[in-house]
Symmetry: C2
Subunit: 131 residues, 2 copies
Amino acid sequence: MSKKKGTRAERELLHLFWDNGFAVTRTAGSGSITIPSCDLLAGKNGKTLAVECKFIKNSIYIKEERINELREFSEKFGAEPWFGIKVMNKGWFFLPLDKVEKSKGSNYIISHDIAKRKGVNFDNLILDLEK
Amino acid sequence: MSKKKGTRAERELLHLFWDNGFAVTRTAGSGSITIPSCDLLAGKNGKTLAVECKFIKNSIYIKEERINELREFSEKFGAEPWFGIKVMNKGWFFLPLDKVEKSKGSNYIISHDIAKRKGVNFDNLILDLEK
């Protein structure tokens, strides 16, 4: 996927959170800066979601290092680590960091199938937070 | 002040937070997007600071609208609203949103003098959070 489409997906999710009563920011240069980070930070009712966005067609490999950075960032911030996965023509799925599956070597994998089996949709993501 | 110098100041503050054990992000397009936002979000020990950065020589006027946006964002997010003010050749001062002074009309003002009288330095800002 192109960087441009990734950015467009991030902006779409930004507005989805905002329209549902969250305060939300998109991180500048989250893919390039040297300190652990995430793509979006969304907060509501004292809870914070640290969301890493992926726009995929079928699947994507994620380096262990990136997983560790998201975990470190979230623990320090006091946020819940999530992957926000936009699957082409299928919409958004949300997967908690600990449900991302190990793949070959030290890589991790996110696929449409994994997102469908283990993830939740946006409505269920935010419903969970209202509890 | 130029936009470039403002961005440099934001990055400097980003690293200052990180070096002191905070997870921190800088917001993409915080000055241009249409939803309330802040320049930096810094979290530690379950507390979140929503920081609007200003790099000034002497003083700067801030529109009431901007003040209201920072307040709205922070309330929704569950963050403390702060101004991080870098005064040229004088370093950083931190002023809680409610200590920014009213100026002419509906504007607000931040000056070196106000920052010195009512603000805290970085060490005291983070000391306050450890309590």
